[in-house]
């Protein structure tokens, strides 16, 4: 009983302790909150001139994380996660499941993972406090250590440590993407919809064993912190072009590198979209290397130039 009281005391006094929390500790708390708390967030996602309202519900049932993401506008588009299975339910196709530890598409999955993995590419700096979604919040900046990637800002609820706003910015502080929570409800018990989702039988996880092992590609230069996640060879979805594929990530930014035979039509050397996704092409002899990702084009060009076979 005393232990419980002590624990309660510890939990009840974060306000005092918050004063000397480091930026990293704030992010660690956020990561833990995203994994362990039960909450419902109504949020809007701003990307270039696209605005999407979403609802995200998260809870724990029988020690498993269960989450539900719903697009509120347009044709129904939902995703459900039970444990490490994410099922996408969309109006125009049968539901399918993949293995993933977060639902892709809103907050970066890295936010709920081990924050120290981001330290090789970014530094964390505490900013000011402001009021978001009717709650006091603390700004934490995730600043890239070099010019090879974009920066991020996240505002955390001072009570629950859940993110209330997330910005992705270019080096000259132009906004590329923003997620803004309009309402946050911290719950005591998993809501009925999650219990229902937990009981439901979802389609079996898509097998990834069909992936052909790609060539042994290597890079003689990568920005600090970037690692190769996956290598394979597959065909592009739309055009059926056969490509060698390498996935790179530094935790926040994901880059896809493709090696293919030079096509009939040339790819543009560089292009940037307004939501920050860039593409760069480098032609080497009969092959072209295409790099895609939410990083500056210079980074993509340099990565495309540095690829080689081991």
């Amino acid at each position: 009983m005393r232990l419980i009281l002590l624990a309660l005391l510890v939990f009840n006094s974060p306000v005092i302790a918050q004063e000397d929390l480091s930026a990293k500790a704030w992010l660690d708390n956020m990561s833990q909150a995203l994994r362990e708390q039960e909450f419902k967030m109504s949020l809007i996602q701003l990307q270039a001139d696209h605005i999407r309202p979403l609802v995200y519900i998260h809870g724990k049932i029988e020690d498993q994380e269960v989450a539900f993401l719903e697009h509120l506008n347009g044709p129904p588009k939902n995703a459900v996660r039970v444990g490490t299975t994410v099922t996408f339910i969309e109006h125009d196709q049968p539901a399918y499941s993949v293995r993933a530890n977060r639902i892709q598409g809103i907050l970066p999955p890295a936010f709920a993972a081990d924050i120290s993995k981001l330290e090789s590419g970014y530094q964390f700096v505490l900013g000011g406090r402001s009021r978001l979604a009717g709650r006091p919040s603390q700004l934490v900046r995730i600043i890239p250590k070099d010019n090879f990637r974009y920066g991020y800002q996240v505002w955390l609820d001072m009570e629950s440590y859940l993110p209330l706003r997330y910005d992705m910015l270019t080096q000259d502080k132009q906004l590329l993407e923003q997620i803004l929570v309009v309402e946050l409800l911290v719950l005591d018990a998993p809501p009925a919809i999650l219990i229902e989702a937990y009981k439901q039988d979802w389609p079996a996880v898509a097998s990834q064993s069909k992936r052909d092992v790609g060539d042994n590609w290597t890079f003689n230069w990568l920005p600090e912190g970037f690692e190769i996640l996956v290598k394979d060879s597959h065909r592009l979805m739309g055009s059926h072009e056969a490509v060698e594929y390498i996935a790179l990530s530094d935790g926040m930014a994901n880059i896809s590198v493709y090696v293919a035979r030079v096509g009939d039509t040339k790819m543009p050397e560089e292009l940037v979209t307004r939501n920050g996704l860039s593409l760069a092409t480098e032609v080497v002899g009969n092959f072209e290397v295409v790099a895609v990702g939410k990083v500056p084009t210079e980074t993509l060009t340099r990565i495309a130039k540095s690829i080689g076979i081991q």
Binding site: Q93, S239, T265, P268, R274, L277, T297
Partner: protein
């Protein structure tokens, strides 16, 4: 139809009876008609009669209630999903690409891709018009004007319209594939971790 009974019903209509009397009245079928008649007389006097009067109202209601489907409590669902089963489920995975093809997933990421490509702008347009932004056609039928930044597009001056379209298709294919891989790769990371975990568990 005795006088006493009539007074009784009349009192009930005026709300001057106790519950016990009311229950008795309800049991006496013969009085029901009177009950209705008194009410109708009252309504007529107050000028509250509906335009058409269905005199056999009580009978039709009783009829409707009889026809109403009976509500049966749903059988309790047997929850067969146990945690062990869920984990075991991964063992007999169905190859996704066999099931419904890669296009299915591609379609789902297409929406994102659309955002990506419509902002693509072309250097060659500058030669034609002082307002390159207006000249760029979005790839997938949206009318978003272009350009945060224009990348140098080499030799695009020599591209014909058909080639421009083809180029855009290729760009779209790459961006779609990139978006799709984001969904798939996330799992790849876990696979590695779980291998690691099981190794640790073995030792």
């Amino acid at each position: 139809m005795d006088k006493l009974g009539q007074e009784w019903v009349s009192a009930a209509v005026d709300g001057e009876t106790d519950e016990h009397a009311l229950a008795e009245l309800a049991a006496d079928e013969g009085s029901h008609r009177q009950w209705r008649d008194y009410h109708m007389i009252g309504d007529a006097m107050r000028g509250e009669l509906p335009k058409s009067i269905n005199l056999d109202l009580s009978a039709s209601i009783a009829d409707a209630i009889d026809k109403e489907p009976r509500i049966i409590a749903p059988a309790r669902r047997v929850d067969s999903k146990k945690p062990e089963l869920a984990i075991g489920g991964f063992a007999n995975v169905i190859p996704m690409f066999k099931q419904f093809g890669q296009y299915a997933i591609a379609a789902s990421v297409a929406l994102f891709a659309v955002v990506g490509v419509q902002n693509y702008s072309q250097q060659s347009a500058i030669d034609v018009s002082p307002l390159p932004v207006l000249n760029t056609r979005p790839l997938v039928g949206s009318v978003t004007p272009v350009s945060l930044q224009t990348g140098p597009v080499q030799a695009s001056q020599s591209l014909s319209n058909v080639q421009v379209m083809e180029q855009r298709q290729r760009i779209n294919a790459y961006i779609q594939d990139h978006m799709l891989q984001q969904r798939l790769n996330n799992g790849a990371k876990i696979d590695d971790n779980s291998k690691l975990d099981s190794n640790l568990a073995d030792h």
